[in-house]
Structure formats: structure tokens, C-alpha cells
């Protein structure tokens, strides 16, 4: 699938069901921003400047707790360290592209765009990767910013009793299950989940990093074990 338009369309089709989960996620992020006392410009600006929902929600919670700036920045960056891993994983696929492509491609990198792209790229070597990735990442960016704006302006009008915030872990869960392609991957997920739950009380959200590394380590060990047996 070398043709750009087909690849873009394929990316769009891949991200489309996930957008259903992005809408409540971004709306909640917008509502949380004004709920934390941010003026509307800053609430909208936050989503454009950072464009990373999990870290935005964590940062806003810290703002509500009057945490110092370095704690807010440190926690958010630690949560977003996973983008370094995603970047390393996707880089070989985008190597042939010029910098004017790779710079915006990097900006719209998200868990969701990453997950659908890396899965397709490993299965299908012929597809036009930049266009496929954009087909997933650009609609997601648009959906995110639009839903965030709705949350900013509607603010407190969404009842918490609807538990729409559950859509956030559900969106990640919907990406997690297809990623469990092998026994070592399942082990990686289980170990990571266990460590994340156990280390949840660590400051600066370090539990997330610890869990990710523990999970990767467990996956590598299981991998070596299955290879040597």
C-alpha cells in the first residue's frame, strides 16, 4: 500500500474506534483544567502545548493541591518518559523521511497513534508508514482538541455519577489486549500491573516507570527462557 491516500485512510480506520474513548478522556481533561482554577486560555493551551492526557490530569491534580512547580513539571515528565520508548520504537520506520516530516510526526505521538502504528508496521512491510501514522495521529489530535474545548466550556456540567472517567483506563485497556501477542508479553503486562499497583504511592509517579521497566525486564527474561528451552 504505497499510495498515501490509502495508507492515510487505513490509519484513520485503525484509530476510529479508539476515538470513542478519546472523546470522554479529553472532555474530562478540559473540565479538570477549569476545575483546577485555570482560565480558559490556559486550559485550552495546556492541551496544545503538552498534548498528553495522562500527564495533564496528573499535573492538574497537583495544581489543585498547590504543589510546587518543580513537582508538577517533574511528575508530568516522568509520566511522559514512555514517549522516549515509543520514539525509539518508531524511529526506524520513519528514518527515510525528511526532518520536516519527522518534526510534526513527533509532536502528534500518543499511546494510541503509537499502538496502532507499531502493530501495523510489524505486520505489513509495504505500507506507506508516514501516511498511515498521520491517518491515525491527526484525527486523534483534532478529536482531542475539540473534546478538550467542550470540556473547558461545559466544565462542571457533566455529572460525576456517570463515571465517564472510567473511559480513560478503558481506552488504554483496549490497546493493551491486542498487544499481548505472546506469553512473554502477557508476563510483562502482569508484572508491570503488579508493580504499578504496589508502587502507586511513590512520589512523582515513579511507580509507572518502575512498573514499565519491571515489565520489560520480565518479558525479556521469559523470552530468553522460551528460547533456551
Amino acid at each position: 500500500m504505497h499510495r498515501p491516500r490509502l495508507a492515510f485512510w487505513a490509519g484513520l480506520q485503525a484509530i476510529a474506534p479508539i476515538l470513542l474513548g478519546i472523546v470522554p478522556f479529553a472532555t474530562i481533561a478540559g473540565a479538570a483544567a477549569v476545575g483546577a482554577g485555570l482560565p480558559e486560555t490556559l486550559a485550552l493551551g495546556l492541551s496544545v502545548i503538552v498534548y498528553a492526557g495522562a500527564s495533564q490530569l496528573a499535573a492538574l491534580e497537583l495544581v489543585r493541591q498547590d504543589a510546587p512547580v518543580f513537582v508538577i513539571v517533574g511528575t508530568a515528565l516522568i509520566i511522559n518518559l514512555r514517549f522516549l520508548m515509543y520514539s525509539a520504537s518508531l524511529a526506524p520506520h520513519f528514518q527515510a523521511l525528511p526532518l520536516r516530516w519527522r518534526s510534526p510526526l513527533a509532536y502528534v505521538l500518543t499511546d494510541q497513534a503509537y499502538a496502532v502504528s507499531v502493530s501495523r508496521f510489524t505486520d505489513d512491510a509495504g505500507i506507506s508508514r508516514g501516511w498511515y501514522y498521520l491517518g491515525a495521529a491527526v484525527p486523534m489530535w483534532i478529536t482531542w482538541q475539540a473534546s478538550n474545548a467542550v470540556g473547558v466550556f461545559l466544565g462542571a456540567q457533566v455529572p460525576p455519577s456517570w463515571s465517564l472517567d472510567f473511559a480513560i483506563p478503558l481506552t488504554f485497556l483496549a490497546l493493551l489486549v491486542p498487544a499481548l501477542k505472546s506469553r512473554p508479553a502477557v508476563l510483562a503486562a502482569l508484572v508491570s500491573a503488579g508493580v504499578a499497583v504496589g508502587a502507586a504511592a511513590l512520589p512523582l509517579n515513579l511507580g509507572l516507570l518502575l512498573a514499565a521497566f519491571a515489565g520489560i525486564g520480565a518479558g525479556l527474561l521469559a523470552d530468553q527462557h522460551t528460547r533456551s528451552s
Binding site: 518518559l81 515509543y86 478503558l170
Partner: protein, 109 residues
């Protein structure tokens, strides 16, 4: 709010810049940087490990305990979503099953 708006703008710009650098890091390198083999093998487990770390605490800590057990409504709804994801391979059905499952558990409890 003790943190002034100006400081918040600064904080968010710093987070934004830092996050972009993280995103750009390897993608921006035009050289085929020789990644060690172990590193490349480890990258394969990033989706599973990172996504699990994001999901698990939300299922365990954010829900309401069901009838005195340690298990929460969100955990059960989450497990239901996993089952649906596994069987149907449909993101849409997974989201619907999880939300409907949670609402039903909340309504019944």
C-alpha cells in the same frame, strides 16, 4: 491557588517542551543510531508493559469495593472488558462492554 497563572504557564511550557523532546528524541535522529540488541528486544515489550502500568492502578484503586470484598466494581468491569477484547478483537465493543459493565455493577451494588 498559590501558584500564580504566570508560573503555571511556565510549568506547562516546560512540560510541553520536555515532552516534545522525549517524543522527538529517536525519531529526530537521522543517523541509524546503533541500538544495542538487548535494547531493541526490550522495545517489543513497551506497549504491553506501559499500557498495563497505566491501566492497573485505575482499576484497583479508583473503584468502589463490591460488598465488602477487596475487589472493586471497576476491577470487575475492567476484567469484563479484557474478556470482550480478547474474544471479539473489537476496540468499540471493549469500550462499550466496560462502560455498560461498570454502570450495571454500580446500579446493582
Amino acid at each position: 491557588m498559590l501558584t500564580g497563572i504566570g508560573l503555571l504557564w511556565l510549568a506547562f511550557v516546560l512540560v510541553g517542551l520536555g515532552t516534545y523532546l522525549l517524543r522527538f528524541s529517536f525519531i529526530g535522529l537521522s543517523e541509524r543510531a546503533a541500538l544495542p540488541e538487548g535494547f531493541k528486544q526490550g522495545l517489543r515489550f513497551v506497549p504491553a508493559a506501559v499500557l498495563a502500568a497505566l491501566v492497573a492502578p485505575a482499576l484497583v484503586y479508583d473503584g468502589t469495593a463490591l460488598g465488602g470484598w477487596l475487589v472493586s466494581d471497576r476491577l470487575v468491569a475492567g476484567l469484563l472488558a479484557v474478556l470482550v477484547a480478547w474474544q471479539t478483537r473489537s476496540v468499540l465493543l471493549t469500550l462499550i462492554a466496560g462502560m455498560v459493565g461498570l454502570w450495571m455493577l454500580q446500579w446493582l451494588a
